[in-house]
């Protein structure tokens, strides 16, 4: 296989990604949520925390487009404010696991030996448990809060990145241009940073994009189980949980549920298109990592 410097390929192909209608739709939905997150305090909405128990369980109407919840709070306002809990934390979570997983995976793949053994056995340990169960255990031990939920998910999600990274680095390490660099006097860390990492970053980016939706779901899931957001914070997962016990008031769970759905789908559309456009070999590389 010849090494194709990816930088040259990436430049023209990124715009190609946005030309795909699915990616564009996803990006627009996401952009809309980002805008909402930024300007929601300026919108003419009711205070998402203002209770009015006399007006609880009102069906959607002109006064309350998404109805009111069990404490008479405006569901539209809470749904829009909810993006402020979900999006930034999902970004922090994915960025965190990307960095931690990549660094550990790259070290394991490049250095090999004992370092590889230790890192990958710890990863195996995490893999041995179902993600959500382990996250629940950690979150329950740390106590309910959104930040603790993020920490719990960080602990369970970095090994994914580490495994893929390790496989990619293992593949790149033997490439002639890397060997050439080493022969010209580059130290292991310089070689890793300058020759290896740039050539494996694309599949990692795709992996991160596809992981976003997953992480948002997991975060909402922990809140749904009462291990994430602390009331009265408007958060989609806990709003859905409130709605589930009030079956007859369908609007309680429907609107925050649709919000989660829209963000997850948006991230997946972007991730899919990025993968197709950015690096046709990614699918193979990701699969190869599981060997």
């Amino acid at each position: 296989m010849t090494a194709v410097p990816l930088r040259r390929r990436r430049a023209p192909s990124l715009p190609v990604a946005w030309r795909r209608p699915a990616a564009l739709a996803g990006a627009l939905v996401l952009l809309a949520w980002v805008v909402v997150a930024l300007i929601v305090p300026l919108l003419p909405l009711e205070d998402p925390l203002r209770q009015s128990v006399g007006a609880a369980f009102q069906a959607p109407s002109a006064a309350h487009l998404f109805g009111t919840d069990q404490l008479g709070r405006d569901v539209l306002s809470r749904t829009l404010w909810g993006v402020r809990s979900s999006l930034p934390l999902a970004v922090a979570l994915v960025a965190g696991s990307l960095v931690i997983g990549s660094v550990l995976g790259a070290l394991a793949g490049y250095l090999g030996g004992v370092v590889d053994e230790v890192i990958m056995r710890v990863a195996d340990l995490v893999f041995a448990f179902p993600t959500i169960i382990l996250a629940m255990v950690v979150a329950a031990a740390l106590g309910p809060s959104l930040v603790n939920a993020v920490i719990a998910l960080l602990i369970v999600s970095w090994p994914n990145y580490a495994r893929v990274m390790r496989a990619l680095v293992l593949g790149a390490r033997g490439q002639e241009y890397v060997i050439a660099g080493r022969l010209l006097g580059a130290g292991p860390l310089t070689s890793l940073r300058r020759d290896v990492l740039p050539n494996v970053s694309a599949p990692m980016l795709v992996l991160a994009m596809l992981d976003f939706g997953n992480q948002i779901l997991l975060l909402a899931g922990l809140s749904f189980l009462g291990l994430g957001a602390v009331p009265p914070t408007p958060e989609w997962g806990s709003m859905v949980a409130d709605g589930v016990v009030q079956f007859s008031s369908w609007w309680l769970a429907t609107f925050p549920g649709l919000a989660i759905f829209s963000v997850v789908v948006a991230f997946n559309l972007i991730g899919d298109s990025l993968r197709d456009a950015l690096d046709p070999r990614t699918a193979g590389a990701v699969q190869g990592s599981s060997i």
Partner: protein, 531 residues
């Protein structure tokens, strides 16, 4: 479009026809006259928490409904009134020192096997409750000393139950369906003993051995329990010859009772009963005996110097919007005046210390030493107050206190974790509930300074001598003076105490075409009284 609307109208028509047929069925069930209904089946929907039908082992809501139908008790309560024990198998008298209750058999009752109910059966059944040491065994021991009651046969028609200390609550304990009297001869033939070797549970889960209005026809702890009339029953024969108690979730209970497939639904919430009443469908509201309360820790180390400040406590009492809490808890819910539930002897109707008064809250807070500290309010996330979420109540209280200028942070915990920390007295403030062990105010003395619950809130005897004095007066009171003494104790606690009684949630019994449903705080409903 035309095509669709035609189909839609055809659907509507057939749905209407189906509804007519179904309502015809239910009308037949109820309007068929008393003679016809003797052979009719009554269907009752309940969300099961059933573990066993063995009274000595059952202490769940569904278990109490089942055991109430199958077994009789020495004493009982009439309808919904749990303030006055009345004779069932026996009459009773209390000794002058209130330590001993003497039961005298009336000799008229017969088990479904045909054996007469004897004093030996009652003694055997009570000793079995103590010996098996199952969930209800605490009923026959003193809650504060932990010592089991002494149960003795004194003649062929009399027996005594004695406590080591004065215990005026004895007659209030005996009506519990877990103290149902079993046919000891039949049970001994089927593995029954009065100690831990007892093996009669599986027998009792297949056949009953009681003198109650019904006997067990079939039993499945996860799906349904079927009762048929006990031909030997000596009381007023129940109207329905057969009763099916089935495990159904809330939303399905609603459609069942609307469609007439069930005549009684026991687990609908306030949202579900909203607008349900029409035609033959009636909604009976009662108040649950579970009291939701707020505690404020009085221990200096735990209170952060905030929640032990008497003026701060007063401010909280006046800042809470009790009406909002009642709205959250559903229509039919009540604010008890004290910690004793509204339907019990000695209940306090209201107390000016626990009233919503924003101005008083502001001035009390101003005269307290409160300086913007954050108060952590804990609550259970996986338990409800009769279906009302503690998270909702906590958020309501948080918003009330914040309006008064008090910063509150919510701390939802699984109930097991919460109880661990609460029992250790480590939580600054929080919401919990107390379900009665038996309907007597003495069960609530634990909410006194220096007692079990009081100490959980860091409330020691030296902090409130007035309350301790009132508690001692309540213990010493006898007969008709007890109610007033317990009310005085609660007034004292409301004036200077760690607990704020908040709300008793509503319970709903939805009927379609039947009457005679009298909700009861101990056994939910007596199936035999339904007509």
């Amino acid at each position: 479009m035309h095509h669709i609307s035609k189909r839609a109208s055809a659907l509507t028509a057939s749905a209407a026809a189906l509804a007519l047929i179904l309502s015809g069925c239910s009308a037949g069930g109820s309007g068929g006259g008393q003679q016809a209904s003797a052979n009719k089946t009554l269907v009752v929907d309940n969300t099961f928490d059933l573990k066993t039908s063995d009274p000595a082992r059952a202490f769940e809501l569904t278990g109490s409904i089942v055991d109430k139908a199958l077994y009789e008790t020495a004493l009982t309560f009439e309808g919904s009134d749990v303030t006055k024990p009345v004779p069932q198998l026996t009459t009773y008298s209390m000794s002058d020192d209130d330590k001993t209750i003497t039961l005298t058999l009336d000799g008229k009752h017969v088990f479904s096997s045909g054996n007469p109910v004897t004093i030996d059966d009652i003694v055997w059944s009570y000793k079995r409750v103590q010996g098996i040491a199952g969930n209800p065994s605490f009923l026959l021991s003193n809650l504060s000393t932990g010592k089991p009651f002494t149960i003795e046969k004194t003649s062929d028609t009399t027996m005594t139950i004695s406590d080591t200390v004065a215990n005026p609550a004895l007659p209030y304990i005996l009506p519990n369906p877990s103290l149902g009297v079993l046919d000891s001869k039949t049970l001994e033939e089927n593995g029954g003993t009065t100690d831990k070797d007892d093996k009669a549970e599986s027998y009792l889960n297949g056949k009953s051995a009681g003198s109650g209005p019904y006997q067990l026809s079939s039993y499945n702890a996860t799906s349904k329990v079927v009762f048929v009339k006990n031909p030997e029953y000596t009381g007023t024969a129940p109207k329905y010859g057969r009763v099916v108690l089935q495990n159904v979730t809330g939303p399905s209970q609603k459609t069942d009772v609307q469609g007439g497939q069930a005549q009684l639904a026991l687990n609908l919430n306030s949202q579900q009963v909203n607008g349900l009443e029409s035609g033959s469908i009636k909604v009976a509201k009662t108040t649950s005996a579970n009291v939701g309360y707020l505690w404020l820790n009085q221990n200096e180390q735990v209170s952060g110097g905030v929640t032990n400040d008497p003026d701060f406590v007063k401010a909280v009492r006046h800042a809470i919007d009790y009406e909002a809490l009642r709205t959250v808890a559903g229509s039919g819910s009540t604010q008890p005046g004290g910690i004793v539930p509204s339907q019990f002897l000695g209940a306090l109707e209201s107390d000016e210390n626990n009233t919503t008064d924003a101005a008083a809250a502001k001035s009390d807070l101003a005269s307290s030493g409160y300086a913007e500290q954050t108060v952590t309010l804990s609550y259970p996330t996986d338990a409800t107050l009769d279906g009302v979420s503690f998270a909702d109540m906590a958020q309501s209280v948080q918003s009330n206190l914040q309006d008064a200028g008090i910063t509150v942070k919510l701390n939802g915990l699984p109930i097991a974790t919460l109880l661990d920390s609460f029992r250790a007295g480590k939580l600054q403030a929080g919401l919990m509930y107390w379900g009665p062990d038996f309907p007597d105010p003495s069960d609530y003395l634990t909410f006194s300074p220096g007692e079990g619950l009081g100490l959980r809130a860091g409330w020691t005897e030296s902090m409130s001598p007035e309350v301790t004095k009132a508690k001692e007066a309540a213990i010493a009171a006898e007969g008709d003076a007890r109610a007033a003494a317990y009310q005085a104790w609660q007034k004292a606690s409301n004036a200077d105490g760690a607990f704020v009684p908040l709300v008793q949630a509503a319970r709903y019994a939805v009927t379609n075409g039947v009457t005679g449903v009298t909700p009861n705080a101990i056994w939910t409903v007596d199936l035999a009284s339904i007509e």
